[in-house]
Every structure is written in structure tokens, then in C-alpha cells.
């Protein structure tokens, strides 16, 4: 049996007893990346030397008998949206292609403090906007279960690298489903923690009131391990919750007696793929066989979730992305070319005697902004910046942004009511298994519907996990979503672990 089949939790035990060193383990994964990533395209940046240096240092400290951190030598892949000091952080965008942050995100600091080996930065939709990772400015990521399929997005690289055994653990971010949908598509376990559970400091913002970093791994136990390493209050993130972080690794193996599961009718509507439907219903039966009580719950406002999300998130994005203006860092249009272009325009207008147009001409500053942003943002980013700018404009604010905020509260209230009666809400993560690359290129609205079942958790700020619960006739994994009340990650992990004790879907690997 290859180490690649071990879960992170198992690998940690091997590292601890000395059956394998961090260096050896890192080499194994680097070799795996070397061998497979050309076909998969999960990574944007792998720094073998950096990883091996870290691994060696950890091994030396272990040999010296030093107390090591929680992840003591485990390789971890990081979505390229988390700032890494001295190491390019692109967000999948031309805008930040050359951007080297002068600081580490809090999540990165915590990973380093936990003695993780940072093995590489993973591919993503540009600024985390998308559901297929096809919006990356640099490359496509292929689903290890079918190379013509998308791995999902925006954390497509993060999910694919775990599925293809190129990293035992990876950190993604989830704004509307960007951890859970790729986890479902790639047959791995991925969690979006409660908003505020994991620090956003150094997580390049897409939509600040939604963004949340979280773990992806093979099994719930591993997710517990990684979450424990990265969670916790952070004084430099005002929205980070000042609540104690439980030891997830200590509790994950405790089954929940009399688990109360809620099934929302709204999660089994039109458009749900038959294979997904039956796999999820089977999964519910597994829980019932373990003593879970299943009852119906209602989330009446969930039908507005997509519309609400696609107002608020672009509003925040339009402002968050204003800083990419070519002035202080990141991409800037070619100035000489820009000035020549302006001079040419001026000349033409002067010759034509068009005074009105001459007066309305861009200043060089405005033209620099215009060209920089036109050239370095991809179409989806532009679409959302425009949507958000429009919705926040004078005269539209109340009808769009303010109304969306009100609906957002109603969605949260639906959950508050539901969680009075049940511990967890169970349902599909996505309506379909992984779709084909290019399938939705011309149809942004269908792409937005990818978030149908996931986005409510972000609107409500609650915690949710996706875990594999079946394989369709086409041989593609199916994701089961469990949602929990805020700061109830323990319940999610314990329930997911219960399920993974009774089934082996999480151990299935693509060929």
C-alpha cells in the first residue's frame, strides 16, 4: 500500500513514530505532482526547494526532540488567494501575476506554526469568481475523475490536488460554495467553516461578508485536523469571532447519538440529477441505520438565495477590487503605448475640430485606470464589478443592495428556526456531478446556479461540509452536504466521520 492511500491523520501517525520523515513524504508528493499535474493542472506554483527546506527543518527539530505543531511535517497545498510572504500570490489573475506579498495571511502563519510543509499554490477562478476554475487567467484544471470535466471552482485546484493524491491536505476558500462544490466534484471532503471561525487576514477579498477559508482532505478526520490548525480568533480581523476553538481532532471520532437530521424540500427540486438524488437518499438511509432521526425542515427563502447572493457579493467585490488600479502594485498598462494612443486620439479630434469630444477625453490617469483594468481583469471579474457598481449606484441602492440585505436576514432566520428542531440539515452539495469543461462558457447564469445549494450557508454565515456519498453511472463522485448552526463545526465533523465509518466512498480514488 502506497503512502498516497493514507489519510493525513494516518500519515501524521507514521511521521510521529518515525516510519516516514517529512522530507520523504514531501518528496513523494512532489514526485506525484511532477508526474500528474501536467494533466491535472491543479497547481499554479510549486516550490520544491522551499517545501524541502521546510520539511528538513521539521525533521531536524523532531530528531532534536522538540515539540512539533499539530501538522508536524504534513504537506499542505494552499489556494493562491492566501497571501504568502515572498511567494507570488496571483489570485488566478493577470492583475496579480507578479505580485509578491510582503506578509503572510494569518492562515499561512498558523500553518507554519503548526509545522505544515507548504507544497504549492493551487489554481482557482480569477479572484475566486466562478464554479469551474476555467476563469483562471493561467490554466485550466482538469477533474482527476475525468480529464474532460471541470474540478468545480473556485477552489478547483485545491480539490483536484487532493483527489489526485498530490497533497494530503489543502486549504481553499468558500464565498458561495467554492470549497464544497469542488469537493463534491472531485470526491473529497471539504468544509466551509462558520463566518468568523477562520481569520480572513491575508485572504485576498472577493466578497468580504462571505469569504471563508477552510480545509479540503480525503476524510472528515483530516478536515478536523486542518481546521484545528487554522481556526481561531484573530485580533487583526475585526470580523473574526472571539469564541474558543474546540479540539476537533479530539471529538471527531465521537458518534452523535440520536442525531437529528433535517431534510429541506427545497434541496430536492427540479434540476436535481437522478444519480445525485439517489446517492443522497441512500446516504440519509445510512444515517438512519446509525440511529439518526430524519425530519423535514423548511427553508422557504432559499429560492431567493442565488439572486440575493449575486447582488451582495458583486457589490462588495466591486469595491474590494477597486484597489487594483495599476498605481501601487500589480499590473499596469504599458504607459508609453497609452500616452501615444492618447496623443493620437487628440490629434485626430483636433484635426476634425471635434471640441466636445476633445473636452471629454480621458486624462492620462483615467486612461491608465481604464486600460489597466480592461487588460488585466477577465470577463467574469468585469461582469461582477459592473453588476456591483450598478447595484450600488445612486437610485438603485435601495432596490438592490438594501433589499438583498433584508432577504439575507430572512434566509438566516430560516436557518435559525430550522436548527431549533434539528442538529444538521442534509442534502446534495450540487444538483449535478462535474460538468464538462467549456460546457457553460457562454452561459454565466447556469454557472451561477452551481451555487444553488451551497450559497445559503454563506448568506447565513453558517458552517457546512461536503463529503463523497456515491459515484454516478458515469463514474463521477457525488457530494453530500451537511449544514450546521454557527460554530457547530464539531457536529459536522462527527456526523461526517460517522458516515465515513459506515461507508467507503471517501476512500475511492480516480484511476
Amino acid at each position: 500500500m502506497s503512502v498516497l492511500e493514507f489519510t493525513a491523520t494516518e500519515l501524521l501517525a507514521e511521521l510521529t513514530v518515525g516510519n516516514v520523515s517529512a522530507t520523504e513524504l514531501t518528496r513523494v508528493y512532489l514526485a506525484q505532482i511532477e508526474q500528474n499535474d501536467e494533466a491535472i493542472g491543479a497547481f499554479l506554483n510549486v516550490d520544491a526547494e522551499r517545501a524541502l527546506t521546510q520539511a528538513k527543518a521539521i525533521d531536524q527539530r523532531r530528531q532534536a526532540g522538540e515539540q512539533l505543531g499539530l501538522l508536524a511535517g504534513l504537506p499542505v497545498a494552499v489556494k493562491d488567494v492566501l497571501c504568502t510572504k515572498g511567494w507570488t500570490t496571483t489570485c488566478g489573475s493577470r492583475m496579480l501575476e507578479q505580485f509578491v506579498p510582503p506578509y503572510d495571511a494569518t492562515v499561512i502563519n498558523k500553518l507554519k506554526a503548526a509545522d505544515a510543509v507548504l507544497i504549492g499554490k493551487t489554481n482557482m477562478d480569477e479572484f475566486a469568481m466562478g464554479g469551474s476554475t476555467e476563469n483562471s487567467a493561467f490554466k485550466k484544471t482538469h477533474n482527476p475523475w475525468g480529464l474532460d470535466r471541470t474540478p468545480g471552482g473556485s477552489s478547483g485546484g485545491a480539490a483536484a490536488c487532493v483527489a489526485a493524491s498530490m497533497a494530503p491536505l489543502s486549504v481553499g476558500t468558500d464565498t458561495g460554495g467554492s470549497i464544497r462544490q469542488p469537493a463534491a466534484f472531485c470526491g473529497v471532503t471539504g468544509m466551509k467553516p462558520t463566518y468568523g471561525r477562520v481569520s480572513r487576514y491575508g485572504l485576498v477579498a472577493f466578497a468580504s461578508s462571505f469569504d471563508q477559508a477552510g480545509p479540503l482532505a480525503m476524510a472528515a478526520e483530516d478536515v478536523a485536523l486542518l481546521l484545528e490548525a487554522i481556526a481561531g480568533h484573530d485580533p487583526v480581523d475585526s470580523t473574526s469571532a472571539n469564541v474558543p476553538t474546540p479540539s476537533y481532532t479530539a471529538s471527531v471520532r465521537e458518534p452523535i447519538k440520536g442525531l437529528r437530521l433535517g431534510v429541506a424540500r427545497e434541496h430536492f427540486g427540479d434540476g436535481l440529477d437522478g444519480g445525485v438524488d439517489s446517492a443522497v437518499r441512500e446516504a440519509i438511509k445510512v444515517f438512519e441505520s446509525q440511529g439518526a432521526i430524519v425530519r423535514e425542515v423548511s427553508l422557504p427563502h432559499s429560492k431567493y438565495a442565488i439572486a440575493t447572493y449575486y447582488i451582495i457579493a458583486p457589490c462588495e467585490a466591486s469595491s474590494n477590487l477597486a484597489r487594483y488600479d495599476g498605481v501601487h502594485y500589480g499590473y499596469r498598462t504599458d504607459e508609453k503605448e497609452m500616452l501615444a494612443e492618447l496623443a493620437e486620439e487628440r490629434k485626430t479630434l483636433e484635426e476634425a475640430g471635434d471640441r466636445a469630444k476633445l473636452e471629454a477625453m480621458d486624462t492620462s490617469l483615467v486612461r491608465m485606470y481604464r486600460k489597466t483594468r480592461s487588460e488585466a481583469f477577465g470577463p467574469e471579474v468585469k461582469r461582477r464589478v459592473m453588476l456591483g457598481s450598478y447595484a450600488l449606484s445612486a437610485g438603485y441602492y435601495d432596490a438592490y443592495y438594501l433589499k438583498a440585505l433584508k432577504v439575507r436576514r430572512l434566509i438566516r432566520e430560516d436557518y435559525d428556526a430550522a436548527f431549533k428542531d434539528v442538529d444538521l440539515i442534509i442534502g446534495p452539495t450540487t444538483a449535478t456531478p462535474a460538468f464538462k469543461l467549456g460546457e457553460m462558457n457562454e452561459d454565466p447564469l447556469s454557472m451561477y446556479l452551481q451555487d444553488l445549494y451551497t450559497v445559503s450557508a454563506n448568506l447565513a454565515g453558517i458552517a457546512a461540509i461536503s463529503l463523497p456519498c456515491g459515484i454516478t453511472g458515469e463514474g463521477l463522485p457525488v457530494g453530500l452536504q451537511l449544514q450546521a448552526a454557527p460554530f457547530e463545526e464539531e457536529k459536522l465533523l462527527r456526523a461526517a466521520h460517522m458516515f465515513q465509518q459506515a461507508t467507503d466512498w471517501h476512500t475511492k480514488r480516480p484511476r
Partner: protein, 493 residues
């Protein structure tokens, strides 16, 4: 003004830098005058992923000011993003407060002891906190069009204080600013240094013109770039005249289309004119929305009361108290209070120990302030303590020295650092013995029968020539006492 057929309407927006150690949303220093871009961090230069954390101290200073300006403090206030593009705004938005500011509906009383205008209460619409932008420096040297940006100032806490359009003249505008600056100085919330940009003023002005068809309003102009209160006064006066001339010419009213919209003008101090500024089309809609990176601030009523209790005595109350306690008039209390808390303390010590508030006031205003000006120093560094000066004033009261010679003593004290007594001795000033004075008096009366005659006829002024002669004989003769003595002797003749 009354001779002009219009009324001037002015509202002022004042931006005050709060005196904190660190910036509003990060821990960078706010110190002025450091090398460009040395006081920056990922947060204040808007690096990807960096997040703001509110500086509690800045909020407290804002709260203190708001309470002192009689503003209501809502229990709930939040932060909003004001979105616009400019190179010195690295985040692409300013963190400000839009619809739920930290304070609203207050006032500041202003008056002019010289009677230039009637005392009035200027309403204050709101005061809210926001972060400052950086500084753009345009290098316009030959052939260059480079701009340089210094982000040291970016993120410095600002309190924006917006008045209602209650001011009716450039003089009132200046008085409002002077009183506001004094209050801020008393509170210790800002150094109010206009040269360093820690106090900035924008003025909104238009006219209400009386016409046979009734009153009409001219389009509002916002005037920026005024670097002193004097500049504000002049700019407002200029702008009023300009608007009247323009109106006489084109008759465009506020709200007319085209031409009736608000415009932005800059004060050109060199040419003493306001100049129309280029309108930023992209800045017309700031797309305000609540900043999702920051939590709303909850202010408890007892917190506000605590701040109120700790404000200390403010200028308006202090003036009234000096007038009632020490018997000085509003003009004098104004001069003294306007000099700041330390001078007031000096004055009060002097007034209390000499029990003569007016004399103390005269000495402080004339001699002390004059000396401070000459020495370019402040009262805290002044070499003559209130106790030392009180000794001199007591000597005047005792008749040991007359007021005129006391000025010489004061100068000697300033020059040598001596006490009043020592300075008087050094100048040979000593009280003239009563019998000696009487002898001199009789002698001079005998020698001047004409004067005696005049005095008997009630012409008391005649004694003046005798005082002159007496002073020549003995410079220490106290003129008041000498006069009294002469009159007494003549009466007994």
C-alpha cells in the same frame, strides 16, 4: 453688508486630524514630516487581503469632540465605504460614515466682543470619523508630468465637522473657525495646525438676493484650498461678490439647468481669487455601502456621560466665569480665554492673589502678552511666574510704586529674572516716607501761590505742575498720593 441687496449664506466643512499615536485602522505612526512612505503597512496602503481594525483611541477623541459640540451621540454607528478612484487613495475607497454618523445635531455659539455681529448659535449637522487619503505631489518641472505619492498620511484619523448654512458673513465664518479651533485645542484632540494640514476647511457659499420678484438663491459653490482663517474670510468675501456679479450678468438661480448645480472652486491665495476646479465626473456617485470588514460601534449612554463628565471647563463657560468671578468685561475675558488654558490659569492666579481682576487682566493682556510675543515663547515657558508678578501688582496697590514705574520694574524683572522687590531696589525705587512727602508738598505749595489759588477755586488740575516738579526732586514720589496730600493741605489752609 446691509448696503448690498443680498444675504450671504455660508456653511463650513472642517476636517480635523485627531491627535492619536497611530492611524485609524492600523498601527502605523501618524507623525508629521517623516520621509515619504516610511509610515505605511499592508493595511493603510491597501494591500490585497489586508484588513482594518478600528483604533479605539481615535473613536474616543471623536466622541469627546462631538460631546463638546453638543452633538447627539446615537447608540449605534457604522462604517461605510466611499468609493472613488484616485492615486492617493490606495484602497479605491475611503472608510467614512454615511447615513449613521457617530454624532449629529449639535451647535457652537459664536460672538464678537467688538460687536461686529450679533452673538449666534451655529447649528452643527454632524461630525463623523473617516480615514485620510495620502498626498499627491505633482512634479511640474520642465518637461515632466510625474506625480509622486506619499502614503504616510493615508489612514490618519479625521473628524469631519459639518455646519448648517447658518453663517451670514465672512467675519462670522472666521469667528466660527476661531471658536472651533479654540475648543479643539482646549479638548486636546488636535493640534489644529493648518500648515501641516491637521485642520482643513471647505466653505459652501451662495447668496439670497432680494429682487422685486422676491428672494432668489444663487448656485452653491464649494470653495477649497484655503490655508488660513484669513484666507477663508477673504475667499468667502471674494466669492460672495463674484456670485453677485455673475448673477447680475446671467440671472442663473440655484437648481436651474444648465448652470444651477453646485460647483467646486479653489482659492488662489496669490491672486486672491477663487478658480473653478475641474469636475471629476467619476466622483459624482460614491456608491456608499457599509464596510463589511468592520463591525458597527455600539456607544453606551453611560460612556457618553463619562466623556461629558471628563470634558473639563470649555471656553464659553470659562469666559462667563472670568467675567462674574473677576469682574472683567467680555472683551477681556475673550482675549484671555482665547490664549488657552495655561494663560487662563496664570491670569486666575494673578487675579485671585491680588484680588483685582481688572488690574490683573490689564497686565496680562498688555505686558505679559507683549513680552510673550517679543520672546516668541509661551506662557508655560515664561520667566515671571504669576506669584512673582502678583508681588509687583501688590506693590502698586500698596502705593510703593506707581503704575508707570511698575512697567520699568516689570521690564527689569524680565531682563534680570529678579523678584519685584529686588528689581525695585535695583532701580532705586522705594516708598517715600510720609513726612518727607508732606514736607516736599508744603515746600512746593509755598513756592507756587498761584497753584494754591487755583486749587482753592476748585481747579484740581493745577496740581499737575506740582507733581512734575516733585518727580524731578524725587522720582519715587507717588503721583496719586502726592495729589491727595496737596489737596488735603490746601483744604486746611
Amino acid at each position: 453688508m446691509s448696503d448690498k441687496p443680498y444675504e450671504i449664506i455660508i456653511g463650513l466643512e472642517v476636517h480635523v486630524q485627531l491627535q492619536t499615536q497611530s492611524k485609524l485602522f492600523c498601527r502605523c505612526s501618524t507623525m508629521f514630516g517623516q520621509a515619504p512612505n516610511t509610515q505605511t503597512c499592508p493595511v493603510c496602503i491597501g494591500m490585497p487581503g489586508a484588513l482594518p481594525v478600528m483604533n479605539r483611541r481615535a473613536f474616543e477623541l471623536g466622541l469627546k469632540t462631538a460631546v463638546a459640540l453638543n452633538l447627539d451621540i446615537p447608540k449605534f454607528t457604522k462604517w461605510d465605504r466611499k468609493n472613488y478612484f484616485y492615486p492617493d487613495l490606495p484602497k479605491g475607497y475611503q472608510i467614512s460614515q454615511f447615513d449613521l454618523p457617530m454624532s449629529q445635531n449639535g451647535w457652537l455659539d459664536i460672538s464678537d466682543p467688538k460687536g461686529g455681529f450679533e452673538p449666534k448659535r451655529v447649528r452643527i449637522t454632524r461630525a463623523h470619523l473617516e480615514d485620510d487619503a495620502g498626498k499627491s505631489m505633482h512634479d511640474e518641472a520642465a518637461g515632466k508630468s510625474d506625480s509622486r505619492i506619499d502614503l504616510n498620511r493615508t489612514g490618519t484619523p479625521l473628524l469631519e465637522i459639518v455646519s448648517e448654512p447658518d453663517l451670514r458673513s465672512p467675519q462670522e465664518a472666521k469667528a466660527y473657525l476661531t471658536e472651533l479651533r479654540l475648543l479643539l485645542t482646549y479638548l486636546g484632540v488636535s493640534d489644529c495646525n493648518m500648515q501641516e494640514g491637521s485642520l482643513r476647511v471647505d466653505g459652501n457659499l451662495n447668496l439670497h438676493i432680494n429682487t422685486p420678484e422676491g428672494q432668489v438663491a444663487t448656485p452653491i459653490a464649494e470653495v477649497k484650498n484655503m490655508n488660513s482663517f484669513r484666507a477663508v474670510e477673504r475667499a468667502m468675501a471674494y466669492e460672495a461678490e463674484r456670485q453677485y456679479e455673475v448673477w447680475c450678468e446671467n440671472k442663473i438661480k440655484l437648481g436651474d439647468s444648465p448652470g444651477g448645480h453646485k460647483t467646486t472652486r479653489g482659492w488662489d491665495d496669490g491672486r486672491q481669487v477663487t478658480v473653478k476646479q475641474r469636475e471629476k465626473e467619476e466622483s459624482s456617485d460614491y456608491r456608499y455601502f457599509p464596510d463589511p470588514d468592520l463591525l458597527p460601534v455600539i456607544v453606551k449612554p453611560d460612556e457618553v456621560e463619562q466623556v461629558r463628565a471628563e470634558l473639563g471647563e470649555l471656553p464659553a463657560a470659562m469666559r462667563t466665569r472670568l467675567e462674574t468671578t473677576h469682574g472683567i468685561d467680555p472683551y477681556d475675558s475673550d482675549v484671555i480665554v482665547n490664549q488657552g488654558r495655561e494663560l487662563v490659569a496664570y491670569y486666575e492666579e494673578l487675579a485671585t492673589s491680588t484680588r483685582d481682576g481688572r488690574r490683573a487682566s490689564n497686565w496680562v493682556q498688555q505686558d505679559v502678552l507683549r513680552t510673550l510675543n517679543e520672546q516668541e515663547t509661551s506662557i508655560s515657558e515664561f520667566s515671571i511666574s504669576a506669584t512673582a508678578l502678583a508681588e509687583l501688582l501688590k506693590s502698586i496697590q500698596a502705593g510703593d510704586v506707581d503704575n508707570t514705574r511698575a512697567k520699568d520694574v516689570f521690564d527689569e524683572m524680565v531682563r534680570s529674572g529678579m523678584s519685584a522687590g529686588d528689581a525695585m531696589a535695583a532701580l532705586g525705587i522705594e516708598k517715600v516716607d510720609e513726612s518727607e512727602a508732606e514736607g516736599l508738598c508744603r515746600e512746593l505749595l509755598e513756592a507756587n501761590p498761584k497753584v494754591v489759588e487755583d486749587l482753592k477755586a476748585g481747579k484740581t488740575k493745577a496740581v499737575g505742575s506740582l507733581i512734575g516738579q516733585a518727580k524731578k526732586r524725587n522720582p519715587n514720589v507717588n503721583p496719586g498720593q502726592f495729589k491727595d496730600m496737596c489737596l488735603k493741605i490746601v483744604e486746611g489752609m
